[in-house]
């Protein structure tokens, strides 16, 4: 499951455009809209500060 590491996220918003489902919001620190997120994890690669992380086993 995709989670935002709030200690690392700086709020640059760079991840937002890369989400195909508009499931990321960034007015400051990024937030995942759980109802829209499909855990495709595309966004993870685009975060310049490695703040998007995968929480193992969270979807079970």
């Amino acid at each position: 499951m995709l989670v935002v590491n709030e200690d690392k996220c700086i709020g640059c918003g760079q991840c937002v455009p890369f989400c195909p489902n508009e499931a990321l919001e960034a007015w400051g620190i990024a937030k995942v809209k759980r109802e829209d997120c499909t855990d495709c994890l595309i966004c993870v690669d685009y975060c310049p500060v490695d703040a998007l992380e995968i929480l193992e086993g969270g979807n079970g």
Partner: protein, 435 residues
């Protein structure tokens, strides 16, 4: 493990990294650029969102300067549309444009009598031609020696805003240097976005043994006896050691240290880095509307708002940056502090309130659809120019980019200048052709 040998490995594909790589590749050096993100350009890139082209950092690029010179030298297309470098300040609810020639004196004289105007102009003249002010004073404190006139201060606040640092935090000497460098400068916007511009630079690199790898993360900079030996990277899930004679890092001096291990650096270098390198924070809001929210083609600065907000309707110059029938207004502001941590959510909200108060059609017609808060490891500038040399204390390990910009215009020209300096150094020390 397959090993390829390059003369130079460049970590990071921002303006500094790609300029250095393109120049070296052009001069025959076997050059590899590794970029951890899937896109090149770093904070000088762009991404399409809702039909708008959003920058990852850079707003404009100087034309006729070092960036353009490097593009031309390496044979990269430099497609940039001239952007009107005009500034307009909103003071006391009225908009005042900075006239082109002798503009500052004329503008100041609207708000101050002759004696006061002359006093300020004389101080500026001395700062320009005799001795620049101290770095220990902010522009604000430096000016308060000469005037307390609020409208006059507002004019200067507007000028500093253009430099992306707060009026009360910008060192006075840096303000003067930047003002000098800005004389006669011209600028442009890449109509297809910065990513297209940077792809041209990457294209100029790519040839045999001259490559740009994206999605390739540098894991470690290899150092032996205070001499650089190469880079260990992660590519397609496995680790690869890439030997190289020279490593150029464009990921910021702090990250360079982490990658190479701080134990490999000389103590004095570490101390300088710790004391002098302060990343600059900045806010950028992207606002969509059907009609332009401002009609002014240059930069309009709100000098008396909660935050000094500068606005530019990019789609007036480049309609390509917005979908048909739409306009893009970019609003920029320094947060409460340019250097100290703030609450991003609160800072963004303050800028939106300023826009609401100053743009009559904002509530009815504007949609703020993206917010950027650049800070920390992804700031608007990694440091002010002149803070740290490009050479590290590890032999053949250099930094490029805005963390080690020499005294140059802020932003992209500083990155390009740092690259030019490093390339000259490399040329003097090492011949192309891997052993």
């Amino acid at each position: 493990m397959k090993q390829e040998k390059y003369d130079v490995v460049v970590i990071g594909s921002g303006m500094g990294g790609l300029c250095a790589a393109a120049l070296l590749a052009h001069q025959g050096y076997r050059t590899l650029v590794v970029e951890k993100l899937p896109l090149i350009g770093g904070r000088a890139s762009s991404v399409e969102y809702k039909g708008f082209m959003l920058s990852t950092g850079s707003f404009y690029v100087e034309t006729g300067g070092i960036v353009e010179a490097i593009f031309r030298e390496v044979g990269a297309d430099f497609e940039v549309r001239p952007f009107p470098v005009r500034l307009c300040f909103r003071i006391g609810g009225k908009d005042y444009e900075l006239p082109e020639k002798g503009g500052l004196r004329r503008l100041l004289s609207l708000f101050a009598d002759n004696v006061e105007t002359e006093k300020i102009m004389a101080a500026l003249r001395r700062a320009f031609a005799w001795k620049e002010p101290s770095s220990s004073l902010s522009v604000q404190d430096w000016l308060l020696q000469y005037t307390h006139n609020e409208q006059v201060l507002a004019v200067f606040k507007g000028l500093v805003t253009f430099q992306c640092v707060n009026f009360h935090e910008m060192p006075a000497n840096e303000f003067i240097r930047q003002l000098k460098l800005a004389q006669g400068a011209t600028a442009g916007v890449p109509p297809k976005g910065f990513s297209t511009l940077m792809k041209q630079l990457a294209k100029a690199i790519e040839a045999d043994h001259r490559e740009v790898w994206t999605r390739c993360r540098a894991k470690r900079i290899l150092v032996e006896d205070e001499v650089v030996r190469g880079v260990a990277v992660e590519k397609d899930g496995s680790e690869l050691e890439i030997p190289a004679k020279v490593v150029i890092s464009d990921v910021g001096p702090q990250e360079t240290l982490t990658l190479a291990g701080s134990e490999n650096f000389e103590r004095g270098y570490l101390k300088e880095l710790r004391e002098k390198v302060w990343p600059v924070s900045f806010i950028g809001l992207a606002i969509a509307s059907d009609r332009p929210l401002i009609d002014y083609p240059g930069v309009l600065v709100l000098t008396e708002a909660r935050r000094a907000v500068s606005m530019v309707c990019s789609s007036l110059t480049c309609p390509e940056l917005a979908p048909p029938g739409k306009h893009l207004l970019m609003a920029y502001s320094a947060p409460g502090s340019s250097f100290l941590p703030q609450r991003p959510e609160k800072e963004i909200e303050l800028v939106i309130q300023d826009l609401r108060d100053n743009l009559p059609r904002f509530d009815r017609e504007a949609e703020v659809f993206h917010a950027s808060y650049w800070q920390g490891d992804w700031p608007i500038y990694r440091a002010l120019p002149g803070c740290l040399p490009q050479k590290t204390s590890v032999e053949n390990l250099y930094n490029v980019g805005d963390g080690v910009a020499p005294l140059a215009p802020l932003g992209l020209p500083g990155c390009a200048e740092s690259a030019r300096i490093v390339v000259e150094e490399v040329r003097q020390r090492i011949k192309p052709g891997a052993t």
